[in-house]
């Protein structure tokens, strides 16, 4: 087990390194660099651009730039934002809260809804109802979140024109106003997760309900509710967790677009903005953070897997 963990940990390091190299290459291949974008569509002389490039270190070779970056990164210094001169860690820290809040709200809302919904779906007897539910759940997974967001915004404006639904108020400043503004983005982001999770719960539940130990439990005279929640649900836990891990990645990608639609100052908008501004250190750090988080979450899920299923230890 320790060996499995160590080897997965090594892979994680390699992936982080690979992602940083790839990100670095990619952003430096994009035409138009930070110096040009910063000076705007005005008349900046070639000398001025060259000077700024030098100041930003953009006139060094790619290898030298990367070496410089990784040396700093290993000491915990991810560089400073090209535009504001603040450490990128600070810039990211100021934004990551919004994304985390959005992700956590969506995930909790999804779990809270998906668990009972999945159980309910598992107990449906009529096949018509079951098909309807399945089509709905697939539709829920495939609905484009940016479309849903725009439609929700339009609907809200039509139904309750005075509702405060856009912008961002920090939770610490006014919790109610914060949650009120997070409502629509949460719905837009959570729906596909609800659908995915509910399907997983339903499938595992159905499987479990046909198994011997559930029959035994029923035979012992336990109530149906007890059977479902105490026995069958436990069986659903592992696939459920796996899906949650996959969804963590989805949620992050989805929040890029949803933050844009609802004007939330989160990490997704930071990244899209950073790409447009060619703010290299910021892009670099933000993508690294996002991928490492994604890999870590899945690493944890793997560990749970290994802990729960001895057979998985061998592979």
């Amino acid at each position: 087990m320790t060996r499995a963990i160590l080897s997965r940990g090594g892979e994680l390091l390699f992936v982080a390194f690979g992602v940083s190299v790839l990100t670095f290459l990619m952003i430096h291949l994009v035409p138009g660099d930070a110096a040009q974008v910063m000076l705007g569509a005005a008349d900046a002389s070639p000398e001025k651009i060259a000077a700024l490039r030098h100041q930003l270190g953009l006139d060094q070779t790619l290898v030298a730039q990367y070496a410089h970056w990784i040396a700093g990164a290993l000491q915990g210094d991810l560089g400073t934002s090209v535009w504001t001169g603040r450490p990128v860690i600070e810039e990211i820290a100021g934004r990551v809260g919004v994304t985390i809040e959005l992700t956590v709200l969506s995930l909790t809302a999804a779990i809270v809804i998906a668990l009972p919904a999945g159980c309910l779906m598992a107990t449906l007897r009529s096949s018509t109802a079951e098909y309807a539910v399945r089509v709905l759940s697939v539709a829920g997974i495939t609905v484009p979140s940016f479309w849903l967001g725009a439609m929700l915004l339009y609907g809200a404006a039509a139904v309750a024109p005075n509702m405060q639904v856009v912008g961002y108020v920090p939770f610490a400043q006014d919790p109610l106003a914060n949650l009120q503004r997070m409502l629509l983005p949460t719905i837009a982001l959570a729906l596909p997760v609800v659908a995915s999770l509910a399907r997983v719960v339903r499938a595992s539940m159905q499987e479990a309900l046909g198994q011997d130990y559930v029959r035994t439990a029923r035979a012992k005279g336990l109530t149906e509710r007890r059977v479902i929640f105490a026995h069958a649900l436990r069986n659903a836990l592992i696939p459920f967790l796996t899906t949650v891990g996959i969804m963590a990645g989805y949620l992050f990608g989805g929040s890029v677009v949803v933050e844009q639609v609802f004007a939330l100052p989160g990490l997704g908008r930071l990244m899209v903005g950073a790409i447009a501004e060619r703010n290299y250190p910021l892009i670099q750090a933000a993508i690294l953070l996002a991928t490492v988080t994604f890999v870590l979450v899945n690493f944890l899920v793997d560990l749970l897997y290994i802990a729960a299923d001895p057979r998985a230890r061998r592979t």
Binding site: M26, P144, A150, Y154, F294
Partner: protein, 272 residues
């Protein structure tokens, strides 16, 4: 056990109808999708324009039909490309084993760990926006999925007694892989390709929505949605229909893949 069939058929029907519509769009579209008619702009559904018109007075139905064409072409090209490249890589890595396997799969891990949209945005930023770049970007995103999917069964096959026996009678690697691995895996590949198409459609739409996909005036459903957003308060119809079209396209492939999976192995249902 034919429980999954109605959904499978529903999915297949959706895919076939939409694909046919996309193919036939030049003949069945009631209008030229790029012709502007300012006087008739932002109309709701009606007799002249079944699905209404956009802010330039272009016919939404015609644009949606041509939009399907763009959407299907790009999604299919990228998934097929990813299958070809990723699949070959996965099979070769497993078959050869050793350092080649390690390097290839770690590379795939790196690609896989990237947030999909950001990887695609990055690739398009490098290549410049357009249909071709979009297809490449989505293809790269899906390559690791197919590499992983084909690697595991190849490993199993490689260690099997069957291969040892085949080798003993002098069968070539190519013959073993072509005759036995691929036929056995084709249903799984079909399922994964179908499900990948479903998400590739969503990625293409997101990229067009962000203005990175096909260039105007080529009809693209994601761009239609993005452009109509500014006119939601006038006429929600172009936004409603273009979004619904994206949803239906993705839904068709997802139901089809899902149903197929059920049919192949009911026990594996929803365990993706």
């Amino acid at each position: 056990m034919n429980r999954a069939n109605p959904l499978l058929w529903l999915g297949a029907a959706l895919v076939v109808v939409q694909a046919l519509a996309a193919l036939a769009s030049p003949w069945i579209a009631p209008y030229d999708p790029n012709v502007q008619d300012i006087l008739a702009r932002l109309q709701g559904p009606g007799a002249a324009h079944w699905l209404g018109t956009d802010n330039f007075g272009r016919d939404t139905l015609s644009r949606a039909l041509f939009g399907y064409r763009t959407l299907f072409t790009i999604s299919a090209a990228s998934v097929l490309g990813a299958l070809a490249v990723g699949g070959t890589l996965g099979v070769l890595a497993a078959w050869r084993g050793g350092w080649m396997d390690k390097v290839a799969m770690r590379l795939m891990d790196v690609l896989f760990a990237f947030p999909i949209i950001l990887l695609a945005i990055g690739i398009i930023a490098v290549l410049g926006p357009g249909a071709f770049s979009t297809a490449i970007a989505i293809g790269v995103v899906y390559t690791p999925i197919f590499a992983r999917m084909l690697r595991a069964p190849t490993l199993l096959l490689k260690d099997s007694e069957y291969v040892a026996a085949a080798r003993a009678i002098g069968a070539s690697d190519r013959r073993i892989l072509g005759r036995h691995l691929l036929p056995n895996l084709s249903p799984v590949i079909l399922v994964q390709a179908s499900l990948s198409l479903s998400t590739a459609i969503l990625v293409e739409a997101s990229l067009s929505f962000l203005g990175l996909g096909t260039q105007p005036p080529t009809a693209s459903l994601g761009r239609m949605l993005a452009e109509s957003r500014n006119f939601l308060n006038f006429s929600p119809w172009p936004a409603v229909f273009s979004g619904a079209a994206i949803l239906l396209a993705a839904l068709g492939f997802n139901l089809f893949g899902d149903g197929l999976q059920d049919r192949l192995d009911p026990r594996l249902r929803s365990r993706r």
